[in-house]
Symmetry: C2
């Protein structure tokens, strides 16, 4: 794969990253083979080295989004090994540090009119909620109270950057422990 990619100059990952950027900037209709080739400064033929067609690219963009911006946390053994409260703090820090929330709005706008994208988004939401719920359960919470704490945490982590744009990164970092004090308080 690597050798192939080099021969064509642009890796599969670069196409996917460019696709997500185009999606974030102008919405899903702007994610075209021609547009991406132009933005990467490469001939369109290079695209078909990595993808069958635009539909295949779109599907792989969703996988890439799920992997690079969610599984990077939920499947990270160094995160899973932490004590539950530290694990929740680490999730919040990683979202902040790597801007893991930067594609939420455009991906969800896409999912409003594409059933395949909608299924994918639901899968990712479930993955996040399951991971967070496990931590709150280990802290001793149960039932509706467990559910509500987990949902509040996931919801806030997903939308903080879009909703509270005036917050500095320093302030967002400070608020992590305030939030955890509140949500892990019994």
């Amino acid at each position: 794969m690597k050798a192939k990619s080099k021969r064509r100059g642009v890796s599969r990952q670069e196409w996917l990253a460019a696709g997500l950027e185009a999606l974030a900037r102008d919405g899903i209709d702007s994610v075209t083979v021609e547009g991406l080739a132009r933005s990467l400064g490469i001939a369109k033929s290079g695209f078909y080295w990595h993808f069958e067609n635009r539909q295949d690219l779109l599907r792989q963009i969703l996988d890439y989004w799920a992997h690079e911006l969610t599984e990077v946390v939920t499947r990270n053994p160094r995160v899973s090994a932490l004590e539950p409260r530290d694990r929740l703090a680490r999730i919040a820090e990683m979202v902040l540090e790597y801007n893991l929330d930067r594609y939420e709005v455009p991906v969800r706008q896409w999912a409003r009119r594409d059933a395949g994208a909608a299924r994918h988004v639901r899968k990712v939401d479930r993955m996040r909620l399951d991971f967070v719920r496990r931590a709150f359960r280990e802290l001793g919470f149960t039932g509706d109270d467990l559910e509500m704490r987990s949902m509040l945490f996931v919801c806030y982590q997903t939308w903080e950057a879009s909703m509270f744009r005036e917050l500095t990164r320093k302030r967002r970092r400070q608020l992590i422990s305030v939030r955890l004090d509140l949500l892990t308080h019994s």
Copy 2:
């Protein structure tokens, strides 16, 4: 205004509602005078009875969104008169009852590439946060703790429907008091 509207068959409000529906379905680029006239089954000329041009329509759509889906709560004397916890519960019930959250994703996707829309969204977010913060302050919370409770509440109310689509309305209604128990617990 009413007489004028009747002469033209379609009221200003119907144009705005149709504009928001088109925005929600296909994003801001699909909000065109031609497209809306077609969906309303009316000649394009009727548009200019109410709006100067597309730009004017877009600005008025934002005002309409702010008014019909936020100020309907924050400027409602029957809501403001309630005790703070009841007020917070009433906000959550109204969001649920009238689907006040149904345009959040498309409006924010629009705001990502339009500075005017972004300013409007920030203004609405501040309006919501101020209204909610006042209730939590009356409950005795202060400082960062006050801020975090208010932000968690607003964030959840804005995104519950998009993030937790599998919840029934009945379940969403049940969760209101669970959420308030958690967020108003000192």
